[in-house]
Symmetry: C2
Subunit: 379 residues, 2 copies
C-alpha cells in the first residue's frame, strides 16, 4: 500500500480513476491517513481481513502520491479501479467521496478519469456550439435572464418573460426556486410562458428560448419534460445535487434532443472543489451549460476558482463537447465588459435580480445588457 508497492500493482489494473484529496494533517500521520482514505473509499474494512486476491490486487484503492502543499495541507492522490463504478454516476461520487465527505479535514480536489469512463458517461450532448446555434448567436457570448420571484402567478411570470424577449435575451430560465408549487404549477407555468412568448415581439435577430426548471423524483421530472416538450421546449434547468446525479445522467441519456443547464444549488462550496464538481463532473454527466457563482458577487468564490471552473468546462477532454460556463449570482450590467474580458465570449452571461430591479424599465435594461454583449463582439 505504499506508493512504491502500488506502482507494481498497476500492471494488473486495466483502468483506474485517480482522485486528488486535499487533507489537513500533520506530517507524521499523512501516510497512514492517506492509506485510510484509500481503504475507506474502496473496501471499507481492515486489509488484514481480506483473503481474496482479486480484491487485494484490483479493488483496494492505491495511494499513488502524497505531496506537501502548504502549512499542514497535503495533496493525496489515490487510484480506484473503474470496475468499482459500474457506470453509475451516483456510485461514482460514492467511491470518490462518499464516507470521506463525513470528515471535516478533507476536500475532494480533482479527479483524472480514464478515457473509457469519459466515453461511457459521454459529456454534453449539445454544449456551447448548439446552445449558440439554437438562438442564432454566432460567436458572441450568450445572454440569460431569470424568471422570479417564486410566488408569482404563471401570468405574471409570462409577462416578465415577454419583456425579456422584447429586450432581446437568448435564454430565459426559471429561477431554481420555481418547482411545482400550488401558486404556480409546472404545467400551467410552462403553458402560460410559452403561449405569451409566441406572440411577444422581439428584436429581429433574436430567438429567445424558455428554460423551465425540473424538480422532484425521476417520474415527476419525466412528466414535466413531456409536458414542456409538447409545447416546444428543448432546454431545461436542473439541480444535479438535489435530483441525484444518476437521475440527471439518465435524463441526459434518454433525451438526446434536449439540452440541460445545471444549477449549483446544494453543491456546498467547502468540501468538493467547485471546479471539479461544477466544471468537470457536471460536464462529464452531460450538462450543456453550468451556472456558478461569479467572483465579486453574493458568494465567496475567488477569481481563481471561477477561472478553474471555466477551464474545466471548456478544456479539451477526450473529445467531449465544451460546456458553457454561466457565471452568475449577483451580477449586474456594469460588470459585463469585465466578465467578457475575464472569460472570453464562450460563455453565457446570466443577470437575475439586477435586471428585475429595473421594474417598469425592464425591457430597456435588458436591451442594454444585450447590447453590452454585442459591443464586445465587435469591439
Amino acid at each position: 500500500m505504499t506508493p512504491s508497492e502500488s506502482d507494481q500493482a498497476f500492471a494488473f489494473v486495466r483502468s483506474f480513476l485517480q482522485a486528488s484529496y486535499r487533507v489537513r494533517c500533520d506530517a507524521r500521520s499523512i501516510e497512514s491517513r492517506a492509506r485510510a482514505i484509500a481503504v475507506e473509499q474502496s473496501v471499507e474494512m481492515p486489509l488484514a481481513a481480506i483473503e481474496d486476491a482479486f480484491v487485494l490486487s484490483e479493488i483496494v484503492g492505491r495511494v499513488v502520491a502524497i505531496e506537501d502543499i502548504e502549512n499542514g495541507v497535503f495533496e493525496v492522490r489515490i487510484a480506484f479501479s473503474t470496475e468499482t463504478i459500474g457506470e453509475d454516476a451516483g456510485q461514482l461520487i460514492n467511491i470518490l467521496f462518499g464516507n470521506t465527505s463525513l470528515h471535516e479535514d478533507v476536500v475532494l480536489h480533482d479527479v483524472e478519469f480514464p478515457r473509457e469512463l469519459v466515453a461511457a458517461f459521454g459529456g454534453p450532448r449539445h454544449g456551447l456550439r448548439e446552445l449558440r446555434r439554437r438562438v442564432g448567436a454566432g460567436a458572441r457570448a450568450l445572454s440569460c435572464a431569470a424568471l422570479k420571484p417564486q410566488g408569482l402567478t404563471p401570468a405574471k411570470l409570462a409577462d416578465l418573460a415577454c419583456r425579456f424577449v422584447a429586450g432581446g435575451i437568448d435564454y430565459i430560465k426559471d429561477d431554481h426556486g420555481l418547482a411545482d408549487q400550488g401558486y404556480s404549477r409546472f404545467a400551467a407555468r410552462v403553458e402560460a410562458i410559452v403561449a405569451a412568448m409566441r406572440t411577444a415581439s422581439s428584436p429581429s435577430n433574436r430567438r429567445a428560448r424558455y428554460v423551465p426548471n425540473l424538480s422532484g423524483d425521476l417520474d415527476r421530472m419525466r412528466r414535466q419534460i413531456a409536458v414542456a416538450v409538447d409545447m416546444g421546449i428543448d432546454t431545461f434547468l436542473m439541480a444535479p445535487m438535489i435530483t441525484g446525479l444518476s437521475n440527471f445522467h439518465q435524463l441526459v441519456k434518454e433525451s438526446p434532443r434536449l439540452a440541460f443547464i445545471a444549477h449549483p444549488t446544494m453543491a456546498g462550496a467547502a468540501r468538493f472543489a467547485p471546479s471539479l464538481l461544477i466544471g468537470k463532473l457536471f460536464r462529464l454527466l452531460g450538462a450543456d451549460a453550468v451556472i456558478f457563482p461569479n467572483h465579486g458577487g453574493r458568494f465567496g468564490y475567488s477569481p481563481e476558482t471561477c477561472r478553474a471552473i471555466a477551464r474545466a468546462a471548456r478544456a479539451e477532454w477526450n473529445g467531449l463537447r465544451p460546456t458553457v460556463p454561466v457565471p452568475a449570482g449577483g451580477m449586474s450590467r456594469d460588470r459585463v465588459p469585465e466578465m467578457l474580458e475575464f472569460y472570453g465570449a464562450d460563455i453565457m452571461l446570466l443577470i437575475g435580480g439586477a435586471l428585475l430591479a429595473a421594474r417598469e424599465r425592464l425591457v430597456e435594461e435588458t436591451a442594454a445588457f444585450v447590447a453590452e454583449i454585442e459591443r464586445y463582439r465587435h469591439g
Copy 2:
C-alpha cells in the same frame, strides 16, 4: 424584515417552517447577513424589485430571531412558507439550504416543521417496532453486520452471509459500496445470498434478514426492488444524499411493505448539522433506520452529536414512528456494553470490518457480538 416587523406578518402566514442557521459573522453585520439568507433562500432577488403583495407578505423568508451563540457564531432563525415546498423533498432542501450551502460560513443547524408538513412527508412506515418484530427481537437492541468488501463474487458474499446467520445476526446488509458492478451484479448477488441464507442453519430464536443496497437512478432502483422482493426481501439500504431525497421519498411512498435503512455516505459534503440531516430529515422522509458514525470510531463525530442524532431519530414528533439509530463506523465487540449504556436498547448495533477481521472465526465472533447484546437485555 426586522424580527419585530416579522411577528406581525405571521398573522397572514398560514403555515411555515423555521430553519436555524449557525453563521460565523461579526456582530455589526449579522442582521444584514441574516436578511440576506432569508432573501437568498426564498425569492433570491432585491426586495425593492418585488411588486407582488402576496410574494412580499407570504413568500419572502422572515428573520424571526438572531442569537449570539459564542465567539462570532450566531444562530439565525428564519421562517419560510410551506407553500414554497410543494411537498417535494428535493425542493425542501433547496429552500432550506440550496444556494446558501455555497457559503463556507453557514451551517444549517436545525429545522422546525409545521405539523401538516410532517404529516405530508409521513416519516418511517415501519421504524423501531416493526424492525424488531421482523426478526423476533422483543425489546432488545438489534444487531447488524455488513457484507464486504466489494469485489467479492456473489458466491463469496453468500458464504459470508451464511456465517453471519450462523452467528445469530438480525440484519445482514450489503456494504454501501456494493452497487451493480460487473463482478457482482445486483440480481445475481441477491439471488445467491437469499438462496444460501434459506438453507443456512441459525440459532433457534433467530430470523436473519438480508438488506441489499439500492443504487442508480429511480428506474434502476425500482428494478432492483422488484427482483429482490420476488425473492422475499423486505428491507433495503439506500443512500438518500446520492439517490436524491425526492427519489428516496418516492420509493418509501410507493412501497408501504418495505423498510428502508438510510446510509450517510455523501452527507458530509453539504454542512448540514448531522442530527438534522440524518436524525430528522431522513426520518421525516421515511427512513426506518439511520446509519451514522459513532463517536470514537473512524469519523470525528462527538458524543454530543451522536446523542443528538439518536434523540432526533427517536423523539416524539407529531406521532411519527421512531427511526432506529444505527451507530457504526469502526465499531468492535468490546464497545457493545458501552454503546448500550450510551444509547439504550432502542438501537441497532452495526459491526462491519471488525467482525470480518475474525476470518475463520467469523461465526464465533458474530455469536459473541450477539451474546453481548443479550447480556445487556438481561443485565
